[in-house]
Symmetry: C2
Subunit: 214 residues, 2 copies
DNA sequence: CGCTGTGAATGTATTCACAGCG
DNA sequence: CGCTGTGAATACATTCACAGCG
């Protein structure tokens, strides 16, 4: 909670690790552990204690010297840093196989994410429902976004449609996108975008196998 | 092709970008472009020309000064660097929704990846077939891996089963894993692992929205 | 004492800037 | 000339190491 004078920009690396720490804290709290040191947390997270203390120090002083961190306190601090104290509504673009898998992904709800609408352009799918979530024409997205109050979008569509879907959703006011399409999306500076490209990850693995083999 | 005396270790960042360059080269070649400069490629890739020249310089001298890079040459060099000159066989652990989506993901085949077997532990699924790919008991994976010659595995299973599935597949000889389960997998040094955690990506977005003005 | 919080040191990735070849 | 290839410079991320508080 301590607000520092001139905070540095927080890197994605740090933010990603905070999510990991958060997961661990949830788990060890379930196991009844009440206090944890940076060294113990580092052990679980697969990093080192200095990394953890440094990451946390960007946001405040959450520990007690000589003691460690109170799990409940640190967990709720990180929850608040990540903006997870409230629920987030998500729209899903793409009623294909990947969209279907994501729509039924149980972990979203557990982490406070709710898929409130699905968009597609296929008339055969529009009007349908998956697990109680309606599939709408992407051309109506502006209205639906407004009505539902969604703030995040997941793009789970083929590459060629990705930019167009992005632009529709952007026009509807969405500013944060998780893109599964294997395409570079051109964004404006107000937009936050993360890409997940499965083929690129696999190619990272083939590179490793190929180059380490003598 | 020039082999240097003492190569530095290539970072994942560089390898990831090589995949991106490769994609772009495929596309511009389809568009009939035969020569490309690092500046032009950087424009497509959303980076800068020095980054591209540096990335490529770790592997050889593929360009011509004053001219640029011949698209066909650079493409095939990167293909070879990434180990994509041959096909790779992949097994999929997890016959759930995500597994189903991945099994029908068309881009895999386009990029030389073939899913040759699916593993699960649910007797209701074992014995079935998806798009001609058989679903086997994970306890039989060692035999199936040997028979198919698979070298990569995708873990598309719930968190609690991930470590166990990893160990079965590892015992079967797989050394490269793409893990979608939201769990840290404990690996041995011979193993290459990449993680894709959808919730962590979404939390990166909520952090950005939450912190960039509330 | 034990462990946090943090400046300083180190390690790594990116970008600059220019020599040198086509 | 134009653009590559690359050492040097810079920016950034991680780790060290220890002062200082509980």
């Amino acid at each position: 909670m301590t607000v520092k004078g001139m905070e540095p920009r927080i890197s994605d690396y740090t933010v990603r690790r905070l999510s990991i720490y958060y997961r661990i804290l949830e788990e060890i709290e379930r196991n009844g552990i009440e206090v944890v040191s940076s060294a113990a947390l580092a052990e679980y997270a697969g990093t080192n204690s200095a990394q953890i203390r440094k990451d946390l120090s960007y946001f405040g002083n959450f520990g007690k010297r000589g003691r460690g961190y109170r799990v409940s306190v640190l967990k709720s601090e990180i929850k608040s840093i990540l903006g997870l104290q409230r629920k987030w509504k998500v729209v899903l673009a793409g009623a294909g196989n990947l969209g279907h898998a994501l729509n039924s992904y149980k972990d979203f709800a557990r982490h406070g994410f709710e898929i409130v609408a699905i968009f597609d352009s296929d008339p055969g799918k529009i009007g349908g429902t998956w697990d109680g979530v309606a599939i709408h024409d992407i051309r109506d997205c502006q209205m639906i976004i407004e009505r539902t109050g969604a703030e995040l979008a997941i793009l789970a569509i083929p590459g060629p449609s990705a930019q167009g879907a992005f632009e529709s959703l952007r026009a509807g006011g969405i500013r944060a996108f998780l893109n599964f399409a294997p395409r570079k999306i051109e964004i404006d500076p107000q937009v936050h975008l993360r890409n997940v490209d499965i083929t690129i990850e696999l190619e990272g693995l083939t590179y490793a196998l190929h180059s380490s083999r003598t």
